[in-house]
Amino acid sequence: MSMLKNVTIGQYYPGDSVVHRLDPRTKLGLSVAFIVMLFVVKGFLPYVWLAALVLLVAQIASVPLKVMMRGLKPLTFIIGLTFLLHVFTTRGGVTLWQLGFLRIDSHGLAQGAFLSIRLIMLVVATSLLTLTTSPIALTDGLEHILSPGAKLGLPAHELAMMMTIALRFIPTLIDEADKIMRAQLARGADFETGGLIKRAKNLLPLLVPLFVSAFRRADELAMAMEARAYRGGKGRTRLKELQYTSSDFWAYCLSGLAFVAAYYLGRWA
């Protein structure tokens, strides 16, 4: 029951910090730059620097560490697997441990740790973006960034609208699934025991009503939008125009400096 409540990706953590108030385009751009940096720099030292940067931003946004780390939970398995694969397959350096065909070399250990940290930082940095930016602001920013593509036939507005609607309905559908699950549990349904096939079959009482309600909702939403004369992006004005402010300027400057520092830290180390 409670497992459905643990989905953090796309979960906004409200606040009123400088980070929250930054233009979504700035945050999107800097997040992409940060991810690029993660792949460009080599060595542990710049990673420590970048991690400190993330923690600093989280501190300014007053997002608790615990909340940021929640996004990692579903990825524990992948991160662990990445670590183990590299530890056992990368050769070189000093052999630390050997048992039959299994061997751990110092390079493998370093490589495994490095790539796991990269994955963790990737997830934490992107969840910092979604935690401090409301989904609406995020798609607004995205629409702006994609709008030059409209000349090439890219339906920027429609894509952004689809994303907005999808994001908007994630919590609704989770709630709905939760409710149906409880209703079926009350009728003695069993979602937790049995083999893979039996479990998949047991999900039917959850999935059928969920699909029925999702279609009904989609239908109602389309009606409601048309009733309010929605006709796509053409000639559409906005209530809140995105506006760069001086804090965006400073965010670009300071982050740019920090990224350059990370790059040279990697070269130097």
């Binding site: 029951m1 953590y13 409200p14 606040g15 615990k66 909340v67 409710k179 149906i180 409880r182 209703a183 079926q184 549990l185 009350a186 009728r187 003695g188 349904a189 069993d190 039917l204 009482p205 059928v208 009503p209 029925v212 309600s213």
Partner: protein, 287 residues
């Protein structure tokens, strides 16, 4: 089957900015065979409270005993509890999923392990209890029924498990007046006929005043009143303050009293109010 609740609290989304204290120190004893109405404004914790009755929410603070079994205890068989305490959610028709009405109503008993041979009897009995003619409906798809029929089929799905306690969360929401009256009458029959404990959650005073023999009022997660409807409705001011109000006929009685007429403070049904007023005018003529 008694349900005993001691000092129950429930907090949603603890340690986040969304933290909500849904229940706050609720203590309550529900005896076998009672007909209880739980009322409270939206967000008062009604739904949260009733989900504690069958262990859908495990108590984290305080204690819930169902027939003496502690629901916080990890070794308690919750499926057995859920079999005895049937819970009908809001808009229960949204949980229908099977191809036929028969299969959907039989879902609960099947999960209980009721043998195939007995299923037919159970399904027919449950459908009859909610006022549906079993023969004409069992082979139809639940999705082609009318809204009111779907609601009844969904309630039958819970009744087919033969619970000793039946909890219904806003069962009349979205029904037309006729459908609502029928459903409430059937609940009354269920209660008097089988001695089932019925717990009705609603924010409609009118509905509850007519059928319940005991009223529990929640506001902001706290229990603010508990007693027979007549006693609870005398606290008209408190009920209005928390956003509930009293039944219209009780309001009428109160207005009459304010103007100096000697009438009882509470009326639970239109018929009762009617009789009181007739008597009043009769006395007036005599004077």
């Amino acid at each position: 089957m008694p349900i005993n609740i001691k000092n129950l609290s429930c907090i949603y989304s603890a340690d986040t900015p969304f933290e909500v204290r849904a229940l706050d120190g609720i203590s309550l004893d529900i005896g076998a065979g009672e007909f209880i109405g739980i009322i409270g404004p939206t967000g008062s914790g009604k739904s949260t409270l009733v989900q504690h009755f069958n262990g859908l929410i495990r108590p984290t603070q305080g204690q819930v005993l169902v027939d003496g079994r502690d629901l916080a205890d990890k070794t308690t068989d919750l499926r057995a509890v859920r079999q005895n305490v049937g819970l009908v959610f809001q808009y229960p028709e949204h949980q229908l999923f099977e191809e036929t009405v028969f299969a959907d109503v039989a879902f609960g008993p099947k999960n209980q392990g009721v043998p195939e041979a007995e299923l037919r009897e159970r399904v027919h009995e449950a459908l009859a209890l909610v006022g549906l003619e079993p023969e004409g409906i069992v082979d139809r798809s639940p999705f082609e029924l009318s809204g009111g029929q779907m609601r009844r089929v969904a309630i039958a799905g819970v009744l087919a498990m033969r619970p000793q306690v039946l909890v219904l969360d806003e069962p009349t929401a979205g029904l037309d007046p006729e459908g609502r009256d029928e459903l409430l009458a059937q609940l009354g029959q269920l209660h008097s006929g089988s001695g089932m404990t019925v717990i009705l959650v609603s924010h409609s005073m009118e509905d509850i005043a007519r059928v319940a023999t005991r009223l529990i009022v929640l506001a902001g997660g706290k229990l603010v009143a508990d007693g027979p409807p007549r006693t609870v409705f005398t606290q008209a001011k408190m009920l209005t303050d928390i956003g509930l109000g009293v039944p219209q006929v009780t309001e009428l009685m109160l207005a009459l009293r304010e103007r100096g007429y000697d009438v009882p403070a509470v009326a639970l049904s239109v018929e009762e109010a009617c009789a009181t007023i007739l008597e009043l005018s009769y006395r007036g003529e005599q004077r």
